[in-house]
Symmetry: none
Subunit: 203 residues, 4 copies
C-alpha cells in the first residue's frame, strides 16, 4: 500500500504556504522553490498537486473568492436587510487575519490584472457580484424605510465598494493607521452620512 494523501488537503496546504510566501516577499519575489520549501517539499514536489506556478497563483484567487462567498453566506443568514448590508461591508474589510490575507492577495493581483485579460475578467466578475449584492441590499433597506439618500442604489454601492477597497489598501500598507475598530467606525459614519438608519443596526 502506498502512502495515500488527501490531494485537496495538500493543495490547500500548498496554497496557504504560497500565500505566506507572497505576504513575506511579494508576488514578484515568489518562486516555486520558495513555495515548495515553505510547504515542506523539495523543488519539484508541487508538480503532483499543481500543473505549474500559474496554476498555484490562479488557485489562490479562486480559493480566496470561494472562501469569501462561503463566509458571507454564513454571516448574512437570518438577518434583516440593514444588518445584512452591514455584515457584508464588514466582511469585505480586512478586520481579522483571515480577511487581511485575502485582501492582500486581492491587492497583490490588481496590478497584474491590468495587463492580463484573464485575470481582469476574474476580478471584474467578482466586483460585479459584490456590487450587485450591495445594490440589492441597499434597495431592500430603502424599501424598509431605513435609507433617506437621494442617490441611486447603484451609486451608493459604488461609493461603498470604493471605501472598502481604499481602506483595504491603506490597512495592508499601514496597518497601525487603520486598525479594525477604526475602519468599522468610519464605515459606520459613512453609512450614517448617506442616510442609512444606523441606529437600527444590531451591533
Amino acid at each position: 500500500m502506498p502512502k495515500i494523501v488527501d490531494h485537496d488537503e495538500r493543495r490547500e496546504e500548498i496554497l496557504q504556504a504560497a500565500m505566506r510566501v507572497i505576504s513575506a516577499v511579494g508576488l514578484d519575489g515568489t518562486t516555486t522553490r520558495a513555495i515548495a520549501r515553505e510547504a515542506g517539499y523539495s523543488s519539484g514536489g508541487l508538480s503532483h498537486y499543481f500543473a505549474d506556478k500559474d496554476d498555484i497563483l490562479r488557485s489562490i484567487l479562486v480559493k480566496t473568492h470561494r472562501r469569501s462567498r462561503e463566509r458571507q453566506a454564513k454571516a448574512l443568514a437570518g438577518k434583516n436587510a440593514l444588518d445584512k448590508l452591514w455584515a457584508l461591508l464588514l466582511d469585505n474589510l480586512p478586520l481579522d487575519e483571515e480577511r487581511s490575507v485575502e485582501t492582500l492577495m486581492e491587492m497583490t493581483f490588481w496590478p497584474r490584472a491590468v495587463s492580463s485579460a484573464e485575470l481582469r475578467k476574474f476580478q471584474d466578475e467578482a466586483a460585479h457580484a459584490l456590487l450587485a449584492s450591495l445594490s440589492k441590499l441597499i434597495g431592500e433597506v430603502r424599501e424598509a424605510g431605513q435609507l433617506t439618500s437621494h442617490l441611486s442604489d447603484a451609486d451608493l454601492a459604488e461609493v461603498l465598494i470604493g471605501v472598502i477597497d481604499g481602506f483595504s489598501v491603506h490597512y495592508e500598507l499601514f496597518p497601525e493607521r487603520l486598525p479594525p475598530a477604526y475602519q468599522e467606525r468610519l464605515m459606520l459614519a459613512q453609512l450614517e452620512a448617506f442616510g442609512f438608519a444606523v441606529g437600527a443596526l444590531d451591533i
Copy 2:
C-alpha cells in the same frame, strides 16, 4: 570631446518610457531592455543615467509624487478652502491620462511596498502628507462654516482618501465602469453627504 547631454532631460525621457512599458506589460513583465528600447537606447544604454533597474523604478515614484505636488500647488493657488479641498480631491483621482498613469504607477507599487520597508516608508510619507493637507483644508472649511459633520477633520480625511484610492483601483481595472464624470459626481455626493456646503463650490 564628449557629447553633451542634458542628464535630467534624458532621465525624464527614460522614466516616461519605463512608465509606458509598465502600463503595457505590467511591472513584472518589464525588462530593462524593453525600457531601453522604448526610450530609444540599446541594451546597456541606461546605465549612464540610472544605477540599476531598481533606481529606475524608485525614480518613477519620486517623479510621480513631485509632479503631483507641483500640479496641486498650481491647482490650489488662489482659491478658498472649500474649492481647494475639491481641487485636491479631484487631482488625486485618475480623471485624465496623466493622473491615470500616476495612479497606475502608485497601484503597481502597492504590493511591492508590503514587502519593502523602504518603499513602504516612501508611500507612508506621501499618504501622511496628503492626509495632513486634507485635514488642514477640512479644518479651514469647517471654520468657514461650510461643514456640518460631527466627524473629526482627520476622520473625514481618512474616509476621503479611502474613496480616492478605492475609485483609483476600480478605474484602472475597469475604466468603463467609473468614467471621470461619474467619479466626480460620486465624490461630490460624498462631500455633500458629510455636510460640506457643496453648493458653494465654484464648479
Copy 3:
C-alpha cells in the same frame, strides 16, 4: 504470500508498450512514466522488471533481434538457396506492421549508436551476422548456377544490405512512397540486375 507473476511475460508486455510509446512520440519524448502508463503500471512499477530506463531500451533491441532471428529461421526452412536469399531479404524489409516496428526501433537507435560504443558493438554484430548470412546464401546461389555477377559474394551482400536499410529509412519516413509491394518489386529488380536467376524464384 507474494503474487506470482511471470516475469518474462511482464517484461515482454512492457517492452511492447515501450515500443508503442517510442513509435508515437519518438525516443526523446519517451518517459518511463509514459511507458509505465501504456503498460498499465503506475509510475514506479517497472522497477521490478527492469533496472532502469536504459535497461528497457537495451532490451528492446535484444528482443527485436531475437525475434528477427527466430522469424528468419522459420522463413528459410526447407528452401533452396535462392528462395532462402529472397526470403531473408524480404524479412529484413518493413513489409508488415511487425517488421515496420522493428525497423523503426533499429533506425531510432542508429544515432545513439554513433556515440555509444556498447550500442555500436551490438549493431555491428547484428550487421555482420546478416552480412555473413547473405554472403553464404549468395555463394550457394552462385554454386547452383543461378548468379552471373562478377562481383564477390561479400560485395553483393553489402549492396543488398544497403538497399534494405535505405528502403527502411524511406519507408519509415514516407510510407506512402514505398509501399511494401513496391519495395518488393524494386528488390526483385535489384536481384535481376545483378544477375540472379529471379525467374527460378518460388514467388
Copy 4:
C-alpha cells in the same frame, strides 16, 4: 564603438560547434550549455544568435541542405548527363569529412522526423528534390543511349537513393567497413548492373 561581430559568421561557428557536440554525444545528450561551451560562450551566450535550442537544430538542417545544394551545383557544372549523375550520387555519399558530418546530421534527425510533422515535411521535400534530380538525369542518360535498363527512371532513382542512404547509415556506424573507395566501387557496380554505360564515365 562596441565590439562588432559578424552575426552570420557567429551563427555559423555556433552551428559547427553544435554539430561537433551532436557528433560526440548524440542529439539527445546535446544541451544548450554544451553547445555554448563548445562554441566558447557562457551559458546564455547563444541567445544573441539563436532564438532557442530548436532554432539551432533547425538551422543545422537548413544549413546542411543549402551547403549540399551549393556543392552539387558546382560539382555538376559543365558535365554531360552521365557524369552529372555520377557526380550527384557521389556527392550524396559520406566520402569526405564534410559530407560525413552532413550525413550524420541527416541520420540523427531521421528518428525525430518520424514523430515531427514539420521535420518530416522538411526531409520529404529534400528527398523529393533529390529523387527528381536523379530521375531527370537518368532520363537524359537514357536518351543519350547510355542506359539499357527496362526499369523506369523513377524506379531507378528510388533504388539509387536507397543505396545511398543505406551506405550512409553503415558508414556512420562502421566507417571501417565501408571506406569511401569501397562505397564508390560498389556504387559504380550498381550503375553497371542496371545497364548504365559506366565505361563512358569520365572518372
